[in-house]
């Protein structure tokens, strides 16, 4: 079984300490909300967990049945939606979906693309260039890309950023549909989103 261990993690940018001694473990079905004010290091913690930043101290281990996984092995099983992650403005929504699926090793059919777009409420807009999308539509497309990956580790940084009411509903549907089989990590400072996860990890104290 997949498992994530965050062990005594600390990050420092020069003299500035972002956080220290962060500890938690998650298995599929479990969820955690990383909460804290702006600048408390929520996004930094997510990057450290993904392995795209080097911790000052401590470590992050993804393991499967006790076997530690290499970056490329758990990367395939991980999806992220974040304000720091963007999609290609010079490609259409469909081209984005097709590209990300292909470089990840999957051929995705047109029906699958259509159903993904419908799931995030972007039906009929798949042929438009992403540069012409509104920020809410872009956020929806990010969910479609994350869903296409069929990931067991779902990381959401500010999950409902830029979304309207129907978008927020679509997101909570997605989260509920994935909750049982996924490790869910949500970084947020919205009070009502704390409830999306069972546990909390408070930063910035």
């Amino acid at each position: 079984m997949l498992k994530l261990d965050v062990l005594n993690l600390a990050k420092r940018f020069g003299a500035r300490k972002v956080f220290e001694s962060i500890n938690f473990s998650l298995t599929p079905g479990e969820s955690i909300a990383i909460v804290g004010p702006n600048g408390s290091g929520k996004s930094t913690l997510l990057r450290l967990i993904i392995g795209l930043n080097i911790p000052t101290k401590g470590k992050v281990v993804f393991s499967d049945d006790g076997e530690p996984l290499e970056f490329d092995a758990y990367r395939r099983r991980l999806a992220l939606v974040s304000p720091y992650l963007s999609l290609y403005g010079s490609l259409t929504g469909k081209e984005n979906l097709r590209f990300f699926a292909k470089v990840n090793g999957d051929n995705i059919s047109d029906q699958e693309i259509d159903s993904l777009l419908a799931q995030v409420g972007l039906q009929g807009r798949g042929e438009d260039f992403v540069s012409a999308y509104s920020s809410g539509m872009l956020q929806r497309l990010k969910y479609a890309v994350a869903l296409a990956k069929n990931a067991e580790i779902l990381m959401l940084d500010e999950p409902s950023a830029n979304l309207d009411e129907s978008g927020k509903e679509a997101v909570s549907d997605i989260i509920e549909s994935r909750r049982k089989n996924s490790i869910l990590i949500i970084a947020t400072n919205e009070k009502e989103e704390y409830a999306l996860a069972e546990r909390q990890c408070q930063l910035g104290q």
């Binding site: 990367r75 992650l85 290609y88 490609l91 470089v103 990840n104």
Partner: protein, 227 residues
């Protein structure tokens, strides 16, 4: 490293194709590179217009044009991804090696597009012509592979820095020194019309340089990319 139902080569080509499609739609890098090449070429044409420089000088001038034009555009492959925020999506979407070779192929395509335009202009404007086209072809082929092969990882390094454009040239120059020296020697021979014995040594060095730099970049790329 095949995985899923798409093989490794198709993944690499998907990255290159994506960049080429984007490039055709936005003309982000090619315009800068071509304009830079044209400007340098014009300046050189004016400068040498009054007198006729030797073939040796011509060979050096040719590579100065290519070097500086390449410096203005090759870093874009990663800077663009980093600045638009798509780098993070790409890092999660595929293995570092796929990205590296995809970007390397795109930079190569960019360089060959540049050469195809610069070579005829150089010949017309500077009224010179290689005496040995085969040697000239060798120089361009191996030179371009080396330029792209050695600087793709530098582009990835520079894309994380707070200053990017100027830094790319500063970091690339010491790395490209051996390449430029060897390739200019072959080009000299091409302009003067030598025999293969003259260029055997720089050819060997150039082939070794291209292979070593690409393998080295491939080995080190993950350290840079996973940041």
């Amino acid at each position: 490293m095949p995985s899923g139902n798409v093989n490794w080569v198709s993944k690499v080509l998907a990255v290159t194709e994506k960049d080429i499609v984007s490039e055709f739609r936005t003309r982000y890098a090619i315009n800068a590179i071509l304009m830079f090449a044209l400007v340098t070429l014009t300046v050189i044409s004016f400068a040498v217009g009054a007198f006729s420089p030797t073939k040796e000088v011509m060979a050096a001038l040719f590579w100065i044009i290519l070097f500086f034009a390449a410096m203005s555009g090759l870093a874009q492959v990663f800077i663009k991804e980093e600045e638009s925020g798509t780098a993070l999506a790409l890092k999660l979407a595929s293995d570092g090696t796929v990205i590296f070779f995809g970007k390397l192929l795109f930079n190569l395509a960019l360089l060959f597009a540049l050469t195809v335009i610069v070579v005829p202009l150089f010949i017309i404007l500077l009224k010179t012509e290689p005496a040995n086209w085969l040697f000239f072809l060798y120089a361009i082929l191996l030179g371009n592979i080396g330029l792209a092969g050695a600087t793709t990882i530098i582009a990835a390094i520079v894309s994380k820095a707070t200053i990017k454009g100027a830094l790319f040239t500063v970091l690339s120059f010491p790395v490209l020194m051996p390449l430029l020296i060897a390739v200019i020697e072959i080009t000299k021979s091409a302009f003067l019309g030598g025999v293969f014995k003259d260029i055997a040594a720089p050819m060997q060095l150039l082939v070794a340089y291209d292979v070593v730099m690409i393998i080295l970049s491939y080995l080190l790329f993950d350290f840079v990319w996973r940041q």
